[in-house]
Symmetry: C2
Subunit: 109 residues, 2 copies
Amino acid sequence: MAKMGMAIRLKPEMVQTYKQLHAQPWPEMDAALKAAHIRDYSIFLKEPENILFGVWVYVGDDFEGDMKRLGDLDVTRRWLALTDACQTPFDTAAPGEWWSFLPCVYHLD
Amino acid sequence: MAKMGMAIRLKPEMVQTYKQLHAQPWPEMDAALKAAHIRDYSIFLKEPENILFGVWVYVGDDFEGDMKRLGDLDVTRRWLALTDACQTPFDTAAPGEWWSFLPCVYHLD
């Protein structure tokens, strides 16, 4: 079991759209995340800097495999087509990086 | 039970100090957090922007009271004297605001 975190920016003009999408998440997208062994997944938003912070617990034993299978699903592609349009990587992201994974510097159970 | 998140910036010259402090947290500080009904508390770091994201679950029923009691402890004052020196609020923080509390825009159990 691993607690993981990531961050990305929202385009200022897409903040409301992003909030609305996540206020009514698709049940089939939630089910796909659960099937990919994602649990206790929250996304926080820092305004007005428009930074998203996602944190979840991965309960499987093949994170890369689960993420590949999740990403290949039709529902995921349709969902990300909407949410990717709201986001923009940090200027410091590596080529091809979208969400930036964050190291955990402290944990208390 | 409430999942809560917050963010603040680190001074670039204090990033290493902050990491070192949290790599060897004080057992009495951890115990004080637990006594204040804080659980599953993680702090993530976005470099090189030097933004801290803290996330935890509050399992009590008087958050303000618990935070007041926690803040009044000698161990908390000594710990914050070290960590506050590493941090700087966002330029957009309200007067007197240190960590900025973040709304949760999505949650999956």
